[in-house]
Amino acid sequence: MSASILTVDDSASIRLTTRVALSNAGYQITEAVDGMDGIAKLNAGQFDLIVTDLNMPNMDGLTMIRELRKMPAHMGVPVIFLTTESDNEMKQQAKAAGATGWLTKPFDPESLVKIVRKVLGK
């Protein structure tokens, strides 16, 4: 069975790009539009990996990561966040919040798939 990935981003085009890249690579994709929605989706299902933006309205990525690490069902799931190269501070914050790894924006579909493979080990 292919791995199931939750993508969380407030930008519909990023969500779509992510979806296209990852479903072409054979993954199952579920989308959420912000952290709040992400938590709702996590409450409703199991995922092998989460790819999330950090800067989002309603609930930002950091908060979502902290929240999901408190959820028994998701405390071990790998979380990749999207960040910009200049944002080293953000990387540390996100790592401290419990993220697994990151992908630097702007990204191309290949590097996304590469990172996902690296973290999923598949």
Partner: protein
Amino acid sequence: MDMNEIKEIFFQECEEQLAELESGLLKLNDGDRDPETVNAVFRAVHSIKGGAGAFGLDDLVAFAHVFETTLDCVRSGKLEPGQDVLKVMLKSADVLADLVSASRDGGSVDESRTRGLVKELEALAHGELPSASGHDAPKPAAKPAPAAAPAPKAETPKPTDDSGFQPIPFTFDGFGEEEEPVIEGSTYEVVFKPRRELYSKGNEAALLLRDLSRVGEMSIACDTDALLDLDKMDPEESYFSWKISVKTTKSEDDIRVVFEFAEWDCDLEVKFADEASSDEEQPMRPVPFDLSILDDAPSAEDEDKQAEHGSDQTVAEAVSAAETATSIAKAAGAAARAAERKESAAAAAAAAQNNAAAAAASAGQTIRVDLDRVDRLINLVGELVINQAMLSQSVIENDATGTSSINMGLEELQQLTREIQDSVMAIRAQPVKPVFQRMSRIVREVADMVGKQIRLVTEGENTEVDKTVIDKLAEPLTHMIRNAVDHGIESPEKREAAGKNPEGTIKLTAKHRSGRILIELQDDGAGINRERVRQKAIDNDIIAADANLSDDEIDNLIFMAGFSTADKISDISGRGVGMDVVKRSIQALGGRISISSRPGFGSTFTMSLPLTLAVLDGMVVTVAGQTLVVPLTAIVETLQPEASAIHSFGASQRLISIRNSFCPLVDVGRVLNYRSTQANPVEGVALLVESEGGGQRALMVDAIQGQRQVVIKSLEANYTHVPGIAAATILGDGRVALILDVDAVVAASRGQSLRPEMSLAATG
């Protein structure tokens, strides 16, 4: 999904982000220092950059990046967003918008302007104030966050002795998918000790080790000394560490990259083997390293290879130790899960509910629908309205008693139709905000060009109106704004001389009033120079030299065709295109425009537009045997004139006295040339209407048939423009009726000169 479709979604998003960006910047400009505002502004640029990168829009990415860096300085408090800074940022927002549309439509942008702004933004990010830009000595106060990653926080404590390490050598035989690493090169010693956080954050030591194996030839030793007895073990603790020797042609950085995600959650030491401790006595014995060990199901081929090279238990041990570590972490998760399940179940359920509701509220608010579909629906509803009206009429004609249950059903149908119509119309309704926001850019640019200081204040941006109205509003409004900046507001020197604030203000307001949208454009400039307008009108044969006009009438002369008071044509307000064009486009929308002005205090343009272009509440009247529809919004009241209330004034004018005031009577039949002599007002009905100038007129018609909602059918689209007629409609009995253009009729009656194209105008 087609890439172009995704791109289109991205561009739509950009529009939203740009609007967000601009409104945020304007808020900051007004002194708002809410961190959320700064964040929203940052986020807008950030999102545009992120999307643009995914689509390879390099120019856009490059500019957005510089912009973002500067905004980041504001966000982190290193840069105070004062007026000068915001001026640069607002300009940058404009350039960003230009770059977005250039990317979308393939147009070009003003590159020198872009380059100039990049310099200004960079200067700001480096702590130079705009006034100091170009200055040679930049202040080193503020700097963007350093780009280089910091070194790992913790240095690995040196192993006290080597006894815990049993080196397991690796080679890459049978690892075919990657290029065979060249064995010459440097050897690095890597000590990797994961902390418990590494596992709790979803990383796996086994995967990292596998990744490392791709860097070069490696031998690996696992230190299991820290492992406790099972009953003493903390399932979440990390007990293993590894010592790896990697022989590679690649650099130290390539090794560090493998542990990139882990660097804050492990002790990692990477050093050159040559300078590494010489107490490394045991030579490495290379054995094949087979990655398939890490896979769930080793292939037959892999097994063959393993058999071929002889199995090496130690390899499997090292790796399985890593896997054990991972599964310990996983088991910890499971245990914790089981323990917490009970108490958290209820809370989780409640949270799920809350979150789902919140998500629904935030996510499910909008869908994008093709406008064609909405329009088709509106057309169909229009037909439904006509059909319902026809049905009602035939029932009334066939069942005059009106007692049947059919009547009740019809009434309900009528109400439902009405509700459907309102709901469908609401789909097309949009706030005027986007148009208003575009205006702020125009004010900025034009003010810059003519060297004036002007601030645009908007109000009622969320007032909703039909999308078509909004789309068509942009052009006339742009023109009026340019006019206001160019001609309305005086230069700062003049303003100061007149004792005014050197900064001029233009106020743009939208509000609903009696079923229409009212848009006001107010400037605090010099107002209309009536003497000059009058002279110009006389010079251009628009009015007679001895014409007796009120101030209002003089002001409204600026809407006449070919009228321009600007002594020289400026680039800004366009050449030859005057306020007459503005007026015509507003009228084409079924709207009215008028101006009022106070010399020295400024002018106010008032536009009143219908909320929708599809339907109209009308009063159906008879004039000289013809059926006409008068828009209900124009009618103030209807009355039956008595002979005593009618007064003659001059040769042809007649007035009607209403509650102690006199109001000119306009015979619609005469104005439209339905008849050649004036009807007797006493035999007809007077419709008191408010015309665009603000004055009242009494329109004389023969009789009122009733009130009805009618579906507007454009006369221009189906036939041609008819003076005095706004549009046509189909009545319940299937007949076509014309919809009266009240303002045109009033204007025609007021003075033939005002509407030269009104050949039907009655002069009496």
